[in-house]
Symmetry: C2
Subunit: 400 residues, 2 copies
């Protein structure tokens, strides 16, 4: 891409972020009566459920805090409002989010009464990252303390993440899932400067090893969502499951990790793996990435397999922009442009702002919601801020 | 319907059952090496996963046993084969299905090693019904004993059906779901003659009361999937959830119950409720019943809400045929004919037999499978046997 193309994209993403996505959440999400955020928002911002899902709360604290730190060029008034909104969610988490043992509930009602037990360790990951980022933005020490104690609990719980709520009998089907190393790679980056570097380096290295040695199968040119501890594959639904969005998300985390240590070999390797993952996950008939696939082409057990989801495409956009930035390879540029076109043709809502989340296979809007139990204020702003930063660096470096 | 229309339908259903549905499962489902049944069968019968899901095993034992007892006009050779296949599944359940405390695992691997803990009480319901029906067909006393001990355990567990695996904090959100009364109404009928009548009458009456007093909302003309213990509604995703297939399934169980005690008022009441349920669940744009809806028209949290599922339509077919048989109301006949037309235009696979399970909103096949983790050998043969019986009774009575 030449300088003017870079500048044009840069402008498009920044506008989408600051004029469409952020205003939607600023306006409709804060619950000014009971604290925290509403995340179940229909197309026009109507709140259709007032429950507070902890991982959505943690993610939104992260996003408002990061926005504050990121958008230093924005008017002070606007940035300060974002910091206030971050504080609004952080305080709600502090007051209501934790179960007695210190783990984070999965869901609360509007007022903060717990509705679902702390069975899901990903709630804790997002709270830790959110409060760490809020600490960076605000300087609040309590937020740092709570982020660190949560980080430490995650390390203790990770071996059996669902604790007493575990239904799988792992001894008879010891599959490892990609969720934990993916989140570890992200956390190692997010807690940099707040946790002792040796701990974070070890976490990042273990995540990279698990993904690159076990989940990535070079012979089959496939990234498997679940693998045996020796890297073997089980020929069953779980063992054959592919999740193209997850694969591209973890790959860009690892690509960034490799770039930071200037590991040229690993950069080229990961960039190559991205190409297989994208090819096998793309719907050549209707465009867009599938949500799930089966390695052998059988049906998956997920009824929503064929749908096109916002986060999958946001992560794919990051993956290919970073890969192109680092390698200059035109194949990565071509994928980036294809994903960018699919996104801007399908996801943003020109009328009410934000992106739709769930399209059917043909690309029609399947659910009108802008936020829900699983979609919040996170993947889109994270991707857009990240891409704007990279595009800016590319303009400076005059790549292309 | 006149006699020749009844005879034509009777023939169509019997042919679909005995020439398309049953042969598919007879041929591809039995695991002659390790016992029990494969239920993950792709379009042409290819086994794509060998795990044994206990409720699918229990349902298939029920179906082969019932077929044996039902099809007395079929050649003895064929019926005996069905009894053998029922025994094949019943023995596998006896040998591998129970956890030490007597509850039934959710899933086993091919050889019978447990994979998922006994967290799901519906496994136990289907095993109890399956073994009871197998006892009726075979006379085996061990199957009766195991059916009865399972039935008794269900009564003890029902108040907290997920036991130690419960994640919902019920005290803060005390919603009642329709699954338990629906299954109780079915069980009360299935165990007739094997369990003391007073126990079964009480079970049936309690189920009818919960559904008719709490889930059915006469003012809003809606059957809610989840309600407060006082019949009130919560204005949240869970409280507004509609499941048209579940509503029609429980309604025909209760309609049959009312017919058996000759309760004309209740029959008319239920038949009326069916009309609202069907109207609000039908997709007037593309035909077929939606899987889920929200009472206020908001998005649901279920990504698969718009899909058209085999079991929903099989249950709806039973509901309206029975309602028409009992009331003679042309509105019920019109619904029955519309559902019959939708089914036979969309679900049966003329090439490989059986029905597709999962269509997209437009009615295209979304997943090619004939059986999986959630679809087995149950709803379709149950509905077809039931409809054939009713049509036969209607021909005899010369209704219409």
């Amino acid at each position: 891409m030449n300088k003017s193309e870079l500048a044009k994209l840069h402008k498009k993403y920044k506008e989408n972020l600051l004029q469409s996505v952020v205003p939607f959440w600023e306006k409709y999400s804060p619950d000014m009566e009971s604290g925290g955020y509403f995340t179940c928002l229909d197309r026009d911002g109507t709140v259709f459920d007032t429950d507070k899902f902890i991982w959505m709360q943690g993610r939104e604290v992260w996003t408002f805090s990061r926005l504050y730190s990121w958008a230093s060029g924005e008017s002070l008034e606007r940035r300060n409002h974002w910091l206030e909104l971050a504080a609004h969610g952080a305080r709600f988490l502090r007051e209501h989010g934790q179960a007695p043992q210190g783990d984070w509930y999965f869901a609360l009602d509007r007022s903060g009464q717990p509705l679902v037990e702390p069975y899901n360790i990903f709630s804790d990951y997002f709270v830790a990252a959110g409060l760490a980022e809020y600490h960076r933005a605000s300087g609040e020490i309590w937020a740092l303390d709570l982020a660190l104690s949560t980080f430490n609990r995650i390390q203790d719980r990770k071996a059996k993440p669902k604790g007493i709520w575990t239904k799988q009998i792992g001894v008879n089907r010891p599959l490892l899932a990609m969720g934990i190393p993916m989140m570890d790679a992200w956390m190692a980056r997010e807690l940099r400067g707040l946790v002792e570097p040796g701990t974070l380096d070890a976490l990042a290295a273990a995540a990279e090893t698990q993904v690159m040695q076990l989940h990535v199968d070079r012979e089959r040119k496939t990234v498997f969502e679940r693998v045996l501890p020796d890297g073997g594959h089980l020929d069953c639904m779980d063992g054959r499951l592919l999740n193209p969005g997850h694969a591209l998300e973890v790959l860009w985390f690892l690509l960034r990790q490799a770039a930071e240590r200037n590991d040229k070999l690993r950069i080229d390797e990961i960039a190559g793996i991205m190409l297989w993952s994208a090819s096998s996950g793309w719907d050549s008939q209707h465009g867009g990435f599938f949500y799930y696939r089966d390695f052998k082409g059988y049906p998956t057990e997920k009824l929503e397999s064929d749908m096109k989801l916002w986060w999958v495409h946001a992560e794919a956009l990051c993956a290919f922009l970073l890969a192109y930035k680092l390698t200059g390879n035109p194949e990565h540029l071509a994928w980036f442009e294809k994903i960018d076109a699919y996104i801007f043709d399908h996801f943003p809502d020109r009328k009410y702002g934000e992106w739709y989340g769930y399209l059917d296979r043909q690309g029609n809007v399947a659910l009108s919601l802008k936020g829900g139990k699983w979609k919040g204020f996170f993947h889109i702003p994270r991707a857009l801020m990240q891409c704007v930063d990279w595009l800016h660096e590319m303009e400076e470096a005059d790549v292309g």
